[in-house]
């Protein structure tokens, strides 16, 4: 039972959260401290780092499902073990307060609390990130962006913060800033295929639909290619590749021959129409295969996100219809 709580999946569905948080009574039943007096208790306690990770994840699950009581117990246990001033405990306590805050006023209060903590010790990166997350959930993106920019000035090797900042900029339609942030993420984790694909998506969205959008589109397509190269069967990569090659095909036809051969500003020349056609074809084939196999529930094809598969099916169907006409 603890294995799932020990290593929960990075993206957790509400149903899974509920299931995990319902394990609370069993997990909390385990007592780690021993009943013997101090020096002897060291010898008999069954304490392991895993227990604390489990309790922490249980706390997060309980916060997601609104299980106030179990969350409180988890938090109290962690506080008892690691002390009030521990950085992580500060953050978890803040999350607890945020999760059960009743109105905006209570959220403002947690914000003040974070500010006070940071005044005393500004090196607490986790608290700073928590503050940015709180600002984001209070729908004050400008403040969240400022907080993150301050954080990244001090700690420019923080992947999480760069990625979050990119999403915030993207939500504000500040595409070039979002792209810059994602490039920073890639500089730290050069082989993250999901980041390559995300960068491709933003490039695709940001490139305007007039004729000088070619450069962005081409790079977007290449980013998708790279993400597929790094990870076979990456659905988002194929989806993006199909969409971007389709638009690229129509754009390439309108663009004059001279623009094609001009390597803009030292960047790469766009690929030939033939290559793009082949890529489009391959992406369509692969997408159809993924939809077919994952819908049929074939072994080895079940890990895809149902929502993404559904969207892919729409895309593939739409495409075949236009061909039929």
């Amino acid at each position: 039972m603890s294995a799932e709580l020990l290593y929960p999946p990075p993206q957790i569905s509400p149903a899974d959260s509920l299931r995990l948080s319902q394990q609370a009574p069993q997990v909390l039943k385990i007592s780690v401290s021993s009943s013997l007096p101090y020096p002897l208790s060291l010898l008999t306690s069954s304490e392991t780092p895993e227990i604390w990770t489990t309790i922490e994840n249980l706390l997060l699950s309980c916060l997601r499902t609104g299980d106030d009581k179990s969350a409180r117990v988890c938090l109290d246990r962690l506080t008892e073990r690691f002390g009030e001033t521990n950085e992580k405990i500060l953050v978890l306590r803040g999350m607890y307060q945020e999760a059960f805050a009743e109105d905006n006023k209570a959220l403002e209060k947690s914000l003040e609390r974070y500010d006070k903590i940071l005044e005393e010790d500004s090196t607490l990166m986790l608290v700073r990130k928590r503050r940015a997350a709180l600002l984001k959930s209070m729908s004050r993106p400008t403040n969240a962006i400022t907080t993150l920019v301050d954080l990244l000035d001090v700690s420019p090797t923080d992947v999480e913060a760069w990625a979050e900042l990119s999403e915030l900029y993207f939500a504000q339609s500040l595409y070039s800033q979002a792209i810059y942030c994602l490039e920073e993420v890639l500089l730290i984790t050069p082989n993250a295929w999901s980041v390559h694909a995300r960068l491709g998506e933003i490039l695709y969205i940001s490139s305007p639909s007039d004729s000088n959008s070619l450069k962005g589109l081409v790079e977007s397509m290449r980013r998708f290619c790279r993400s597929i190269e790094l990870c076979d069967d990456y659905l988002r990569g194929y989806y993006g590749l199909k969409v971007s090659t389709k638009r690229l095909l129509s754009e390439l036809q309108t663009v004059s021959k001279s623009a094609l051969s001009d390597p803009q500003n030292g960047d790469l020349a766009p690929p030939s129409v033939k290559t793009v056609e082949k890529l489009n074809e391959a992406a369509t084939r692969k997408l159809a295969e993924i939809v077919r196999r994952s819908t049929a529930g074939e072994a080895g094809w079940e890990g895809f996100d149902p929502a993404e598969v559904h969207a892919t099916r729409e895309l593939v169907n739409k495409d075949t219809q236009t061909i039929d006409r």
Partner: protein, 258 residues
């Protein structure tokens, strides 16, 4: 005829119970005690102040830019390179911009240095004191006993190692004296500690000395951050850029066999 006479010494079996076992047990117990003493004496790692943190991470970012430049498009890389090099050369990320170009002060006067040395002192004292005590104890109670015979022959070079405290010239090397048994356990108990305390213990003297080896630890001369930044800027200037996206579509098509 030339067969050497096998030396036989009749030992009291009580020697085993009253010398060999006590020494071994005491050695193991001191190791465990030392492990817990080290844990108690350890001071938590000191937090770095914010400007220092910024300095170190900015440098890391520069190194990342140099190592992973392949993910950037040429124009993007050029822009970043220019900005980074300029900032590095101006010392924009230095924790202490006023100290730029000045020689480093005496490390002895630096309180942070002193703290590091204190930590090492504590470790050494925790090592030395029990060692001296036990050595004295063994010498006082158990010196001069021959306590066991090794089951395999050895060359005479081992004599000084195995028979310290027993001054007989003609004694076969295979006989081990009590003092030597102490030394053997002192250096040879690491696997036992690993078994009892887990592999990351600080019970043995050897592991302590090993840990202090690399990079001379906190005593090593700290490098001038300004020089580090300048060196990194130079590295960035000469780096050859290659975009990983170049020809990616052809690579992909080749892989699919199209």
């Amino acid at each position: 005829m030339a067969q050497p006479v096998v030396q036989t010494i009749h030992r009291d079996p009580a020697l085993f119970y009253w010398i060999l076992l006590p020494i071994t047990i005491v050695m193991i117990l001191t190791g465990i005690l030392r492990h817990y003493a080290m844990i108690l004496l350890q001071s938590p790692p000191k937090k770095q102040p914010l400007p220092k943190l910024r300095e170190a991470r900015a440098l890391m970012r520069g190194i990342n830019l140099r190592n992973n430049n392949a993910v950037l498009s040429p124009s993007s890389f050029r822009a970043r390179k220019a900005v980074t090099i300029q900032a590095f050369k101006e010392g924009a990320f230095l924790a202490d911009p006023d100290a730029k170009g000045k020689p480093k002060g005496n490390p002895m006067t630096d309180p942070a240095m002193m703290e590091g040395m204190m930590g090492m002192m504590k470790g050494n004292v925790a090592m030395m004191v029990p060692q001296t005590l036990i050595m004295g104890w063994i010498n006082a109670f158990f010196s001069g006993f021959v306590i066991m015979k090794l089951p395999f022959p050895l060359t005479p070079q081992f004599k000084s190692m195995l028979q310290s405290g027993v001054g007989t010239r003609d004694l076969d090397v295979r006989w081990v004296s009590s003092l030597s048994w102490y030394f053997l356990t002192l250096f040879g108990l690491q696997p036992v500690y690993n078994f009892i305390l887990g592999s990351n213990n600080s019970a043995s003297q050897m592991s302590q000395q090993m840990a202090q080896m690399p990079g001379a630890g906190p005593m090593g001369p700290e490098q001038d951050p300004d020089k580090l930044f300048n060196a990194e800027a130079e590295n960035l200037e000469v780096v050859e850029h290659h975009w990983v996206l170049e020809g990616v579509e052809d690579r992909l098509l080749a892989r699919w066999g199209m």
